[in-house]
Symmetry: C2
Subunit: 396 residues, 2 copies
């Protein structure tokens, strides 16, 4: 898009009347109409007094896993992560719709809810090979006008326990994955050094970032976090490494927490949480106070891991509020920030709604961020690269 679009009659999160000027799909100005250089030929759109909020950024999703588009699939129980992995591989063989259809249905669903970018982990193992990756790469082409997709090559079945996976991870990154992932070096692979050697070797050889799943709890998980942070510093990967889940951070004594958080901050390792219900979760404020960036994502959405999930990051921010006992406006804003500014920064996006940033935003009929989180309006106008892509629960 090269033309100009002016969104009038909107308010910012503080409630002030503002006008947004978009040029070439990017923010060219946001402020009083008088302060903007609006050309006479600019297209004009009435925001109907709604507030403008940054587009939502899902820092952790699994586009290849979802059953979206299929009839309801009852959950197959598995008490351990290892058993669930086996159950998922079993189910995967029978699923009738390809990833392009299921992931595409999920993207359309979340786009309507205001998600403008995602980091998707994609399973890489010696059975599925790079097939899931190829299909998510194809979604990047077919659905990029709705949602930006960043891909993590994710060894869901382990690396050491599934020989051949390390080579596949190299290949995945060579073929288009943006980062390399990992999974419970102790709990799944029983070999902390071996697992981390393999993951960081991919990161180093291909100069990509890292995002590992870590479910291992308590002091064991904390030890692994520190190992990850130390390798991050040793390889000068500061700011490019994230750990997803890191339940352990919610169940440490003060000294272990302090030591671990300090090292994570120094290594600029970010922590992703979805506000899990049945396990401890990383404590948001103490981590932020220690200088650790916390961001959020949906994780599983109607897949072999969970029958639940709808990809609504405004609801997700509210879930994090519930788990963290956030009730005051400034805390609700803090949770919303995890799903916008913080997730965006992890994905390498510019400050939301700053000059030059993609014009990815939503308009909602609420008076503040806090009210938006509390009410979760479904009537959201969603703009991607300056184009309105959804309104009132439907793609336009």
């Amino acid at each position: 898009m090269s033309e100009s679009l002016v969104v009038e009659n909107i308010r910012n999160a503080a409630g002030e009347s503002v006008t947004l000027l978009i040029e070439g799909g990017r923010v060219a100005g946001l402020g009083s109409a008088a302060s903007l250089a609006i050309s006479d030929s600019a297209e004009r759109l009435d925001g109907a007094g709604r507030i403008i909020l940054p587009g939502l950024v899902d820092g952790h999703i699994h586009l290849d896993k979802t059953f979206m588009g299929l009839p309801f699939v009852p959950h197959i129980p598995g008490e351990t992560v290892a058993k669930r992995i086996a159950a998922e591989r079993e189910l995967r063989r029978t699923v009738s719709l390809p990833v392009t259809a299921r992931g595409g249905a999920l993207i359309e669903k979340i786009a309507v809810l205001g998600t403008v970018a995602v980091r998707s982990h994609v399973d890489i193992d010696t059975e599925i090979g790079l097939k899931g990756l190829e299909q998510v790469l194809s979604l990047k082409q077919s659905h990029g006008h709705l949602v930006d997709i960043e891909i993590v090559a994710f060894p869901q079945s382990g690396i050491m326990r599934d020989p051949g996976t390390a080579e596949l991870l190299h290949k995945a990154v060579a073929e288009g994955a943006d980062l390399v992932g990992g999974l419970d070096p102790a709990g799944i692979d029983d070999d902390i050094n071996g697992h981390l050697d393999a993951v960081f070797a991919v990161a180093e050889r291909h100069n990509v970032g890292v995002d590992l799943h870590l479910h291992d709890g308590g002091p064991l998980g904390a030890f692994e976090l520190r190992q990850i942070a130390e390798r991050t510093i040793a390889l000068s990967l500061q700011g490019r490494v994230a750990v997803s889940h890191a339940f352990c951070l919610g169940a440490l004594d003060g000294a272990d927490f302090g030591k671990t958080a300090e090292l994570l901050a120094r290594a600029e390792v970010s922590i992703m949480t979805n506000g899990p219900g049945p396990v401890p979760m990383p404590p948001v404020k103490p981590l932020q106070a220690a200088g650790v960036r916390v961001f959020c994502g949906s994780d599983n959405i109607r897949d072999a891991w969970s029958p639940f999930g709808n990809g609504d990051l405004i609801e997700r921010a509210g879930i994090i509020c519930d788990r963290q006992d956030f009730r005051a406006d400034e805390d609700l804003e803090r949770a919303f920030d995890l799903a916008t500014r913080a997730s965006g920064a992890v994905l390498g996006r510019p400050e939301p709604l700053s000059i030059g940033a993609p014009a990815d935003f939503i308009l909602v009929g609420c008076g503040s961020v806090a009210e938006t989180l509390a009410k979760r309006p479904f009537d959201r106008a969603v703009f991607k690269a300056g184009r309105k892509i959804a309104e009132a629960g439907r793609l336009v």
Copy 2:
């Protein structure tokens, strides 16, 4: 209503085609059309292949507290229960809409979501007196066609620390409250015996049930639970006493849990949970295994205690699944049961959809209870006493 209504083309939760016969607002039969004595003059309604599920029963709500109908009210923080009580009393003095308007707006909202009955706690203290009660009693008249209301006279500001409250509780029950409540005998009133003496004296004198709020944690809370159970047995109130929240049950060692659960089961004391996020919650399966009835409710909905909440008990059952790590169909059904059969039993309602029970039910376009919880459809047809009161998110 004396006429007959036949709801055809529906399925039960197992997916079997059934027909529902309603007479005089009550269930007269549910099964194959051939098995029902349907008169020729019966009105007929097409269920469009949807499944029939019991109407939802909210075992814990605060109709008098909600700010529903008002512009968004930012939360005033208070780190302790006592500070929150003070903050709420402060806010209460300035709220411009009466309870009849706010509570009425909440009832209309939850009726559309399929709630057919609630147990509402109503604040009784020496400042507000019985004013809140009078207004909720008036809601019982004005909104009884949408939702049945059971009222607990709730000493939100304590009993011992707010002298005169005990007398008000007697008066409240005499004037129409259905049960007497209580609040943290140790944590708020600093006098376990004094508080419980006062509460159970009201129950005994007026022959009403009891539903106490208990936030006190760990072994202290468990001690109070056992005191409540022992008084319940001593006064032959088995089956008529409930404790709401009882966070302590989620944080006990095995022996303390076992001893407490055994006594609760023997005293037939029911436990209400809303699946709280920031604190331990009563473990559903272990309590049920010990013979304790667990039921659920929404608790605060956009009031001085929380800016969140929407009264959707299908979502609430899902929150409980999240907190209890319930994923398999049978566990999702277990959670749904807390919000239907179990809550209903606590409120003294007959087995849902049994012959003679009120024809209070919902129709949803899902294939099972599990799918309903996972998808949370907003398009629900809601029937109260055999009359359709809502469809597709609106009262009819």
